[in-house]
Amino acid sequence: MKFGRFAILIVFFTGIILSGCGQKNEGASNPSEAKKISLTVWHWMTDRESALQELSKKYEEKTGIKVNFELYAPSDAYAQKVRAAAQGNNLPDIFSVLGEKRDFAAYVKVGHISNLAPFMEANNQEWEKGFFSKALATSEFIEGNSYGVAPGIYGVPIDMTSIMMLYNKDLFKELGLDPERPPVKWEDFLAIGQKIKEAKKQGLVSGWGEIWMIDCIANNFAFNLMGKDKVLLTIRGEVPYTDPDWIRVFTLFKQMQDAGLLYNGLVSMVNKTAEQLFANGKAVFAFNGSWCVNVYQGMNPDLKYGVMFLPRISDKFPVSVWGGAGSSFMVYDKSKNKEGAIKFLQWLSDKEQQMFLAEETRNLPANKGAAGRISPALAEFSKAIEYSTHPRVWGVSEFSQVIEAFDKGIQSIIIGEKTPEQVAQEVQKIKERELAKKKNK
């Protein structure tokens, strides 16, 4: 008897424990609840949280549909959460895929993301035509793309971004420079390094401890020096990283360091620290994205800064800027509220909501109709959109191991540990190893 009771207890408690491991019941138990649609959106944009909540209220007032914006930050934690949810088929109605195009393609191929092209193209492309083409390009897969994804548009941009150089106008004056004439040529830029050294100031700040920002500036240099085609040929493995043009790209970092243009300790700096330093007038230059307009406004509303293109190294090819869609939302293809999610995104990307977002968050709107309502500083960033490029539109992706070796190699050059030639050889070695592995698959 005792044994029997004990056995029942064991089974009971084991059942309770295991019940927690079961799948969530997706369907509402109450039929009246099932009729009530609510949408869930996962995002990572802490700076846009209050504006998005405000828009959620407006949408509920208008349609009766509740939109729950759930914030998961920082961005890498968000990316991991999305990846884990994708494994369990527990993605929310609307989410974002951060990372490279290769990652985005993987989500599409596995059937997690809806193709929005039919909705974009409906009514004589009414929805699609509202966006800047550069904003939409990052979410687009064209016919015959190297990722093997069916052609289509898989995301809705809610804003745009461009990453440029900024300079502190007050510090420019202190250095005896004209604050309305930032350096245009590489030689002029290097010459400012000497003035910075003499005045015991600090030069450029940026989040070069986070490797993607080094990657961004290095690719801008490469586009200017050798043109887009040669960069893409390198990624395809047809031009080695030991090519003189690539060695020149690596050398530019050494030149900046030698000229005294780089902030002491730049190689371990996260972008948030860089933003604080620039906003507080501790650095003459910054390399940052258009989101910084909002950040600097919050940190130091009196900061006087100008926006400039990267100094030109060569006249052979144009100076390019990393840019395009800043943040995009995707619709979960297996969502029960797919139609509602698409309608919400159509509303969110509409002119009125885009103007609200641009004003509240000081980000470049993705909708053409909302572009007239941006601040002067942001307008400078918007000019660069025309020259923008982004790895997500290149059609090919570099191996992550090569990107890491490339960017860490640049850090090594800056700290004087390796020469540009050494780094080029190391990167090429890894590239060849990965190409060989790919070939053997």
């Binding site: 084991t14 990846r83 371990s268 992550s400 190893r433």
Partner: protein, 293 residues
């Protein structure tokens, strides 16, 4: 009757076995399984690679081994600097000194602080241009010693190791103190009656009786330090270049690069290394204890 008793015994351990299997054995087997594949973490298809990931880590990934060595160096600093400091402070607090309860409280503050907060505070202290340390050094006329502590390859790892030790010594302090308090006071009194001085008492009574505690603290230090990463992430992000990379950061890096299979293989290999170290230490401690007995 015997069968019933056996069944009853099995039923007693069943919940623990089920929970252990679900939350430890199954995930571990899945990690090993994924380590045999190339997988981006999203795609439905995984490509079977056999032991290729493991071979690549062992033979073609020098950064992995550099990160192991760096974690090893941090562990060595923790085993010596951190644990000796913890032991000496615990020994001092075990004696009849004034404000000993206050000291106990203060010494235990660093471990309960968030690693991210500690990392950021020390990052400000060690910052090369406006940091407190350089400012103090300049004020006392030692400006030649100022440097960018966290971006200089010569100092970055040592700075991280020292901050990690500062953050962690409170645990050792607490365990050592608990150990010291279990030593019967009569032993000290008897030694005193026999004319033993403080040094003799310390070396012949305190230290031998604290060996098992020291072994426990050492094992916890090794496992804790080898797996450290939050503090490093907050202080240097693993840089400059690869100078403060540790194995967990490498595993996270592989995940960020969508190389989940490789990350799983790294995790398995790292786990095996830690288990081996713990096993060696366990055997060593058993032998030491047997010798002592």
């Amino acid at each position: 009757m015997k069968l019933k008793s056996t069944l009853e015994n099995y039923l007693f351990v069943l919940p623990a076995v089920v929970i252990f299997s679900i939350f430890y054995i199954y995930p571990f087997s899945q990690v090993f399984y994924l380590g045999l594949y190339e997988w981006d973490g999203v795609s439905a298809a995984k490509q079977f690679m056999g032991l290729t990931n493991f071979k690549e880590i062992i033979f073609s990934d020098p950064i992995w081994w550099k990160s192991m060595l760096q974690a090893g160096w941090m562990t060595l600093v923790a085993l010596t600097f951190q644990n000796i400091l913890a032991f000496l402070l615990a020994w001092a607090c075990d004696r009849e000194i004034r404000f000993k309860n206050w000291y106990r409280l203060v010494f235990f503050i660093p471990p309960i602080l968030s690693e991210v907060v500690v990392g950021l505070v020390w990052q400000w202290i060690l910052e090369g241009n406006y940091g407190l340390l350089n400012s103090w050094l300049t004020q006392v006329g030692l400006s030649d010693l100022t440097r960018t502590w966290l971006t200089d390859p010569k100092t970055a790892l040592n700075c991280v190791a020292i901050v990690h030790s500062w953050k962690g010594f409170g645990w050792g302090f607490l365990i050592f103190l608990a150990g010291l308090q279990t030593i019967p006071r009569e032993l000290y009194e008897a030694a005193k009656v026999d004319g033993a001085n403080s040094w003799y008492t310390f070396t012949k009574i305190t230290i031998p009786l604290m060996v098992p505690v020291a072994i426990l603290v050492a094992i916890l230090t090794i496992l804790g330090t080898m797996q450290a990463f939050v503090l490093i992430m907050a202080m240097t992000g693993g840089g400059p270049a690869y100078h403060t990379q540790v194995p967990i950061l490498r595993i996270l890096g592989s995940m960020d690069g969508s190389r989940y299979g490789y990350a799983c293989a790294q995790g398995i290999l790292f786990g095996v290394i830690l288990v081996t170290i713990s096993f060696i230490q366990y055997r060593f401690s058993k032998r030491s204890q047997a010798k002592g007995a």
